[in-house]
Symmetry: C2
Subunit: 303 residues, 2 copies
């Protein structure tokens, strides 16, 4: 029996991942700082990953064959440069070492496109684009990636490292780009798109979750971009959202915006594992707008 | 007053560094797991860097303006792949964070040439040679380098990262290359040089220590190779040692040795800081042979 321990299981990505893993035949042990009721598909465990004693107990109770480590500080506007990234790196190193010592077989970690040198020409490739993190978040994730590969080698477990680019979808923190624009539009407000020239590579969170499940279920070792391979201007995303909501003139673009650069991930490694996204950007944004529309109907202050 | 906290102060490099720092006007606070008597130049403190509570107490007692972090697992034949590298990385991250929180101004860490991709063409340059550590030691050091630069940025301290290539000199662990050859020769034994074709970049430990003091005393930020810029075949070093001892035919070369590659560090950054080595390889090896000769006279079993 494959048993996967999922940290950050109640988070934006984690929440979309658990059922997929159960469907693929994993016994799913989901970890969160907050208690959740278990189901047939998912056994929830309340634990703080930053507490080493708790993690040790957890690993020896669960005896996971697989580890999907999603937990990290993700507080919007804070996490890029928060010193808590050091604590999360330390906790993650200990988690990986304990997983190895307990006989774990395969670990998948969650990195970030901020590990790459953002001044490199897009699309960013796992094998050839230089890594040059420029903040604590990117540095801590990149450090963990280096260490995961060597800890895995030492303890003889396989490992892969997912580097998500940009994501959106139901359940996202409402202060982030797509929900903040969508909710403004749905509330009838006018708003400004601040970074319309920036080109970003977006995937719907359902596709991100399916991609992660695909990586976990494969034998692939090393880094893999979670990306579509295609860039879209943020201004174009704002336009698509305003058309979807039926208010095509409600978003103005900041005309003084600087060139926001192009952050696009080559998706060929991910594609080679058999993954294809279900959503294109238009259908994914439509799905997201409908989710927020329902949510606002139920609780108008909810976003 | 500049106060420098030196970890690993009783080690091979640390031992050659302390007096130099005192001469440059630093109040020297030297840390070792073993007690040492303090002098006018050096205040010794017995502490285990792997114990976070001890480190916290130490930082708040000493209030260092400067940190020279040399301590690490260095057990010959073990340290490349020992899981203790994870513990040292964790302890070093905490040390840097505490140093930053306590108002530290400048940190210098000790990396390794094993951070570089050894298949890259020599000489290895700080700015252009890809980093690709292939063992736990190299990965942990490279991770710490990434994190040091970002922890420094967060807490507003300056930082540099020394990458020593190969070193030798008085006091080295006798199981390592130069002392093992020198002692065999001095004892009248015949011996085999196993890796004669490998090209390596060697500096005498006195020069390494002076280079580290130069880096600490400078405003330079980022990585700096501690290297001579010149490669020498290991077989040539063996020949020089055998001539110095007066037994020119006592070392045979392994004729089946593989191509050991070339690990040479570009020294132009270090040179730009005003450092020039005092020893060339011949005078440095002569100095080393004399040290071992004295040592063997005093204690024939000592090497």
């Amino acid at each position: 029996m494959k048993t996967v321990l999922v940290t950050g299981a109640a988070g934006f990505i984690g929440g979309h991942t658990l059922q997929r893993l159960a469907t693929r035949g994993y016994k799913v042990e989901a970890v969160s700082r907050v208690a959740h009721p278990s189901s047939d598909a998912v056994c929830w465990r309340k634990a703080d990953i930053l507490d080493i004693d708790t993690v040790e107990k957890l690993i020896y109770e669960v005896r996971p064959t697989h580890l999907l480590h999603l937990a990290w500080i993700t507080e919007h506007g804070i996490y890029w440069n928060a010193p808590e990234n050091v604590e999360w790196l330390i906790a993650s190193l200990k988690l990986l070492e304990l997983f190895g010592r307990a006989g774990g077989e395969r670990a998948v970690g969650l990195g970030t496109c901020a590990e790459y040198d953002w001044s490199a020409p897009p699309p960013f490739c796992e094998a050839t684009t230089p890594l040059l993190p420029r903040n604590l978040y990117g540095a801590a994730k990149n450090s963990l990636s280096l260490m995961q590969s060597q800890i895995g080698r030492h303890f003889h477990f396989k490992q892969a490292w997912c580097r998500p680019f940009f994501l959106y979808g139901p359940g996202e923190n409402p202060s982030r780009l797509v929900p903040s624009l969508a909710c403004s539009l749905l509330r009838g407000e006018s708003t400004v798109c601040r970074d319309p020239n920036a080109i970003r590579d977006f995937l719907h969170v359902n596709d991100i979750a399916e991609a992660i499940a695909t990586v976990l279920d494969s034998d692939y070792e090393g880094a893999v971009n979670l990306s579509s391979g295609h860039g879209t201007e943020i201004g174009e995303i704002a336009n698509m959202l305003s058309i979807l909501v039926g208010r095509p003139t409600a978003i103005s673009h900041d005309r003084n915006a600087h060139d926001g650069g192009s952050l696009v991930g080559d998706a060929s490694v991910l594609t080679s594992l058999g993954f294809l996204p279900k959503f294109d950007l238009r259908s994914g944004l439509a799905d997201t707008v409908e989710w927020w529309r329902d949510r606002l109907r139920a609780a108008p202050e909810g976003c």
